[in-house]
Symmetry: C2
Subunit: 490 residues, 2 copies
């Protein structure tokens, strides 16, 4: 195999990178920290977009589009916000190039300097709330429930494909409400949409929680999040939904006339998921042979490979496959029939395993005689020979089973590495083993900071569900309201 991956046990990080590149998901580019999302990777992202977009619309949201650039002065209007983003901003300072007087290419034209620099959006709260100011006058204009699919730029120093790139693709919802209650309800609603999507489409179990103050979004009063666990025992934040209070309404002076004819500040939320989800998807399920995709997000759920010795055999197989694919189509199953003759079946098998196609059907001349077909499931690598008759129903059930099975596998793994830890000494030992540690914490940023410095572990979230028994902080012994989730994280 030309496309062998570094085994996970040897170097997890290298395995990840090998997989992303060799399965044709993404690659680095000539621009530092920016990636190229290749067609196969982009096809998965399109499936993610499609399902999320449907879920957003079903919950009453509409799409819109706001400018790529943000005037520098806008960022400064919300103090925490600018503090959070200023250090990683791509700044546009000029709007023209000119030929270098010495003839060697082009240089920035010093006469084309912008009066005010523009920031390539790292997130769009400021430009959107400056727009909402014109849209909102009375309670009748509320709520506003907008989402945008866009690219954003955060100048990260250490980048990794999908997980942390200078430019990434995402959606950002920005809603405006008349009351605090309604905004808080919206933020929680979108958290549930994300959790639903993660578990039922990505097959990734997630913990719903709120972030501690240290980990909160710059400008939010509360950040809700879904946290996932990767196979190497590290956590990954998969989506966030922020209750922004009236911070951005204050910063951009957005008020409305309420039913009692009084001016009030508007309440806000924002929520987003990004191409980072691709990283989560890859690291949750895949193995040393390649990607394992949940059927609900696979670009094609089934690949069919013919095994033949001559053109005549291929013609017979083609005819049978035509019937099979028609039956699959009728069941809403997506497929690819790969009868290209420039690659051997063994090469194709390995390539589709690398690409994580959930089900492979292989069919040869002998199969046609017997009315059978070989079915291979990518998740468990089990092979079976079944009857061609009714194959569409067999595959349909199999796909549902694979979707369930990879979720269960991820959930079982998470359970196996989630444990209560009660002393800081034990914590220091356990954190080295990875996984999620449920511990009591006194609720102070100082204690959290100390733990982070000494162990590289952060509070991933304060879970919304599950055990809420109070206790005492493992570090300071002070009272704790409930256990929180600690882990090292991506």
């Amino acid at each position: 195999m030309a496309k062998e991956l570094t085994p996970r046990s040897e170097n997890y990080s290298q395995w990840y990178n090998d997989l992303v590149v060799k399965a044709d998901l993404a690659e680095g580019s000539a621009v530092r920290g920016c990636m190229v999302i290749k067609p196969y990777g982009y096809a998965i992202w399109e499936k993610i977009q499609h399902e999320l977009d449907r879920m957003f619309k079903e919950t009453g949201h509409v799409n819109a589009y706001f400018p790529l650039f943000i005037p520098k002065s806008f960022l400064s209007k919300e103090a925490d916000h600018v503090e959070g983003f200023a250090k990683e901003c791509a700044v546009v300072t000029h709007y023209r190039l000119k030929t270098n007087p010495d003839g060697s290419g082009v240089v920035v034209d010093p006469d084309a300097k912008l009066e005010e620099e523009l920031i390539v959006r790292p997130t769009s709260e400021t430009i959107i709330w400056s727009t909402y100011k014109n849209w909102i006058h009375s309670y009748r204009d509320l709520p506003i429930l907008c989402n945008q699919w866009a690219n954003v730029v955060r100048w990260e120093m250490r980048t990794r494909l999908f997980l942390r790139t200078a430019e990434f693709l995402w959606q950002e919802g920005h809603t405006a409400h008349a009351t605090r209650e309604e905004a808080e309800k919206e933020a929680k609603k979108m958290l549930n949409v994300y959790a639903d999507f993660a578990e039922n489409f990505m097959a990734i179990p997630v913990i719903k929680g709120v972030k501690s103050a240290n980990e909160r979004f710059a400008g939010a009063l509360e950040t809700y999040c879904i946290e996932a666990l990767m196979q190497d025992g590290k956590a990954l934040q998969a989506g966030t939904s922020h209750f922004l209070g009236q911070n951005f309404a204050k910063a951009f002076d957005v008020t409305f006339l309420n039913k009692e004819n009084k001016q009030e500040l508007v309440w806000a939320t924002s929520w987003g998921v990004s191409t980072r989800l691709m990283g989560a998807l890859i690291m949750s399920h895949s193995d040393d042979d390649g990607l394992i995709l949940p059927p609900n997000l696979a670009p094609y759920q089934v690949v069919i490979v013919p095994i033949y010795k001559n053109e005549e055999q291929l013609a017979t197989i083609d005819a049978t496959v035509a019937e099979i694919t028609q039956a699959l189509k009728a069941q809403g199953i997506t497929f690819k029939y790969d009868n290209a003759d420039n690659k051997r079946p063994g090469f194709k098998f390995a390539d589709y395993e690398l690409k994580g196609v959930p089900v492979r059907l292989a069919i040869g001349a002998r199969d046609i005689e017997n009315g059978t077909i070989e079915v291979f499931r990518r998740d468990t690598k089990e092979k079976e020979t079944v009857s061609i008759n009714g194959i569409e129903n067999y595959v349909k059930e199999l796909l549902a089973d694979i979707q369930k099975n990879i979720f269960k596998k991820a959930l079982d793994y998470r359970k196996s590495v989630t444990r209560n830890v009660d002393t800081y000494d034990e914590f220091k030992v356990e954190i080295e083993k990875g996984g999620l540690l449920l511990c009591h914490w006194d609720g102070t940023p100082e204690t959290e900071e100390k733990i982070k410095e000494e162990t590289k572990a952060t509070i991933r979230c304060i879970p919304l569900e599950g055990d809420k028994t109070p206790g005492f902080c493992m570090v300071t012994g002070k009272p704790s309201k409930q256990r929180v989730v600690f882990a090292r994280a991506y």
Copy 2:
């Protein structure tokens, strides 16, 4: 009516701007030249995207995503290309802000200057061909048929919503081929896809042609285009498809081993349409009361407005409408039922006319008794009272008729203002009246330039179809191969 538009006869340009803003399609933003695409406008763009994306995939293309930024040196690699775009580039020079020492907000951190400036992509040929270099080794790697949906930035000095904005949304296809013939075929194929889309979805008749050298894309050997005519007699370029020859392969050293085991340069095309199509859509069909949308691209094709005096009547109407909407849904017809009680029917009628909803159904208590419903079609403003029984079939046929009718209206108008002009004196008079002038031209850039300077008219295209009779240039009297299309243009 609070939302009255400036009549077209009074000020066409103001009418356009009024309409874009008041129909909630788009508006200006705090960033010079950048627009906000509002939810209703974006919903139309989403329909455009959806149909085009389907057509691209049906013709074998896949989507991918390439970086927003282009290293400055890349732009210089193709001489014509840099010449064409250097004057309108947004340039990123720094990657960090810092707090102003005097405490007043943030300033660009001079220590965070990029070694090489990055250009916000005005188009992606250079970054994509630098990537293709790694993807292409042998003839087996060809063709590559990629498309990307993206935002691009061209720093235009005079901007107009949708028609010319500093940032706009578009798709750009970039294909790589082993032979000249295949690339030329691809460029023409995509031109036909665009023409098909323009005529059958946007209901805009277009002329397919090639651009003269003066109007060619910077870096192309041939630019194919579809040209549309707006109601004010000005032309608008609605889409372009470029045969790029081997220019970008040369610039980025992209070669492949052909079947004879020889290294050859790769052949290229690129093709794109943008949010400019929204401007074409608006200006082709709309009237002084607002937008007229083709049913094939309307966010909702039907709006239903109840007319009632009390809650009891509304309840009865709601029940009947529930049956109607179910029947519409079964026919694949999209609709909105507006029973909001904070606006009067007359206000709603005007608002949906402004928004161009193709069909309005109005239903009152008397209608329920009679088993009838009032049907209003936006294009001709005809009203009819028809039976509720079978309304879904009536509406379905009506939508098809509207789609056909607005195309025919646009085509009839174009025919009425398209004429042959044989002398330059006549040309100077006729061009003031607008419309398309079919004239003989000697094929030289000099003559074209002279005409442009003296009359502000440009050659929109050299038509691929229609009359190919040779003649003599109206300006120089030199031989001309065929008539070409002159017009003033957006």
